[in-house]
Symmetry: C2
Subunit: 443 residues, 2 copies
């Protein structure tokens, strides 16, 4: 299996290569041959090494090579609020801590905090993510330095934003994002209405027009809490999901984050419309929002990705931890240990996320023609021994800290746990200063 008209310039090899293709191929002593940003061949190391003798080799004796993980919903810059306040009622947490802190945000703070989250993401195995937050140009500036692959949107709502001010300026800001990043090889712009309870029907429709014009994803928090459903019923006489459908907004470009409170009929409707869902179990647990009916969604044929949400409500962006929680939570909810088996969970964190982002032809598995986004794990550790089954080990035993190398778009962004695109020491020291300012401004 190869695109052998090219000569590889990078060869990543290890003890195990798990392609995460349709056949769940496992190659022992295997490798991935990369030309520029693209995978050109996968196979046994001895064959590839003979065929591509001039390629740079990244070899890991006890390494397991897998596709990079896809974090399909996060707010990267919220890393600066990690642990600022926890274990509080949702409204008190938002109104006394998060909203006042966010009101003080500037582009430079968001840039700095995004860098922190990028470092954490790379170091825990994420290679692609979908972000929605304020000051998206500054988010993009940080991502551009990191070499990560991302989908990003400026959060839009009807009340004034600390970034763009009034909503009309927000719409202009979104157009500027498209103008600035159209054609960027790693950054994709999305349209990101915050939620139905913060955006008027007119704004939701206006934003869909902008998304359609740019053929962009329409990313929205949907049915996250019972309160959201209750408020929609009171204001619009229907659920959040039916409200969007009544406005004619549901289609295959819509990414519905959380989707905790969906009825069976709504799940069927979302499947029919081709809407994609992102499951964020750890945030939904910590904020006590509820448990999304994911097994039912999958049975209904919905595409579901996995996301960490922001670090204020998790409090990390470690997709290995998220997979672990997702695998266990539904079993105990429905008292059925066969639900959400390890393979299903690993699918959600790879091909599932790729499909959510409309990028399944480019990422999510290690196959010739796809972009070279992969990670290498050090399996020679007590907590990863013995190794009977790879998806099971990935979901139930592996931690973010087990990632030793990361390659994104053909570039090595981490080698032996040292970041190559970002200055980790500087990020940590500058974030510590930023955190002191955030804490002081709380008074």
């Amino acid at each position: 299996m190869g695109l052998t008209e090219y000569s590889a310039d990078l060869l990543v090899t290890g003890r195990y290569l798990y392609l995460q293709d349709k056949d769940k191929t496992l190659i022992k002593d295997g490798g991935v041959a990369i030309y520029r940003d693209t995978i050109i061949e996968t196979g046994p190391t001895f064959e590839l090494a003979t065929k591509y003798p001039h390629a740079e080799q990244l070899a890991t004796k006890n390494g397991l090579i897998i596709p990079g993980l896809i974090n399909a919903h996060t707010h990267a810059a919220m890393a600066c609020f990690r642990g600022l306040a926890d274990d509080l009622p949702l409204m008190q947490w938002l109104q006394e801590f998060i909203f006042p802190a966010e009101a003080q945000l500037t582009g430079d703070i968001v840039y700095q905090a995004t860098l922190l989250s990028l470092a954490e993401m790379i170091k825990s195995g994420t290679t692609s993510f979908c972000d929605m937050y304020l000051f998206a140009k500054d988010v993009a500036r940080a991502i551009d330095e990191s070499g990560m692959r991302a989908w990003i949107g400026e959060v839009i709502y009807d009340f004034p934003s600390p970034n763009y001010g009034e909503v009309a300026a927000g719409l202009e800001y979104v157009e500027e994002l498209f103008a600035g990043y159209g054609g960027h090889q790693l950054i994709n712009i999305t349209v990101a209405p915050h939620a139905i309870y913060t955006c008027s029907p007119a704004l939701l429709k206006r934003l869909k027009t902008i998304a359609a014009k740019h053929e962009a994803l329409y990313v929205i928090h949907l049915a996250e809490t019972a309160e959201e459903v209750k408020e929609a019923q009171e204001r619009y006489g229907v659920s959040p999901c039916m409200h969007l459908d009544n406005l004619g907004l549901l289609d295959s470009k819509v990414v519905a984050d959380h989707s905790v409170k969906l009825t069976d009929q709504e799940i069927a409707l979302l499947a029919q419309r081709g809407v994609k869902v992102v499951h964020c179990p750890e945030s939904n647990m910590k904020l006590a929002s509820g448990i999304a009916p994911v097994p039912h969604m999958l049975t209904a044929g919905l595409t579901v990705g996995l996301g960490t949400d922001g670090s204020a409500s998790n409090d990390n962006v470690d997709m290995f931890s998220e997979m672990n929680a997702a695998a266990k939570l539904h079993k105990v909810k429905d008292l059925d240990p066969t639900l959400m088996p390890a393979e299903t969970i690993f699918d959600m964190a790879t091909m599932g996320g790729a499909k959510v982002l409309g990028a399944e032809k480019f990422i999510g598995s290690l196959e010739p023609g796809k972009k070279a986004d992969l990670i290498v794990l050090d399996m020679n550790q007590p907590h990863l021994t013995p190794l009977y089954n790879i998806p099971s080990q990935l979901v139930y035993a592996t931690r973010g800290a087990d990632v030793v190398h990361s390659v994104i778009n053909g570039c090595i962004v981490m080698k032996d746990r040292v970041l190559t695109t970002l200055d980790e020491g500087k990020i940590l020291s500058e974030t510590a200063i930023l955190a002191e300012r955030i804490e002081k401004s709380r008074g």
Copy 2:
């Protein structure tokens, strides 16, 4: 605060020292002065360094020093079954995979697999644990080499054991354990009836007599599943908890593992009898057993510790992961984000576990006169930045891999993530051979 008639021989210092005492004292740039196996003083580093100039220094610039974690329920040797089979109905998992694999066990396999789990426990911050499994003398042999602190029991039931054979020989084996390890400074012997559904009333009572004679803990799986409760109702006309009480067995030396299916009245009864409970949320999630009513237990005044259960049903023995799950699970179960706050969870994993084991005077916090069991975490990492609140960071963001040093009973058992008492490389290679044999014997 010190026992200053002694001169320290080890001084462990770091950026933060969190004593986990009654006042939740945090000392910036603090340290712990240790004489032999005992903490003699805690305080600012500059004071201790002046006072004990001849002590060996273990200094960690960005370190957070906390008490070692206490894993109050595990089956260490089950590490050799990690990932052997997952996502199956409980009975199929037990009957087709775990029981046949356990029937092949020998003392040497248990010794080898226990070493693996000890390495994983030390590397993820556990310093004390309570184990129940087969071939307990071989478990003890491994623990003795590791320098860990442990409570261990030979699992006793009415059917023949691959270790001792018939139950009469099992009772002798237990007496031999007490004879062999009475007075050992780190190993404590318990009496460990497997459960009420595998032990006759006569056996349960006989074992309690043995425990009482040795003033030992009586460790038993209790009310883990709905099936256990149903079977007890059918066989004895009462719940598992009431069955033990009817036999006169419930007292302050009883450790009830899991305790998923308890009524309000049973919780009140256990509190009244002084029974201790061990909560194992990740195992209960993965096996779909249910969610133990821990918030209610705590309100009722029950002492609750935290345990990982064995690596076949978790699939790790990482107490940081267990704390994370415990903190989030009850919030989403009861839709209340204020339940099980970080401080409560960290208490369960330290002082709670100490109280469960009747060792609260010796371990669970860093105070003069207590045993020197502590760990040091490297806080200068992206996922641990910023640091606003220590219990929150420990419960929601820290991973086992963040532990850099571990001191147990005054001895450094891990320094810069290198084990000093165990040969990690040898353990990994020998376990890999063992795992091949286990896999082959499945045919």
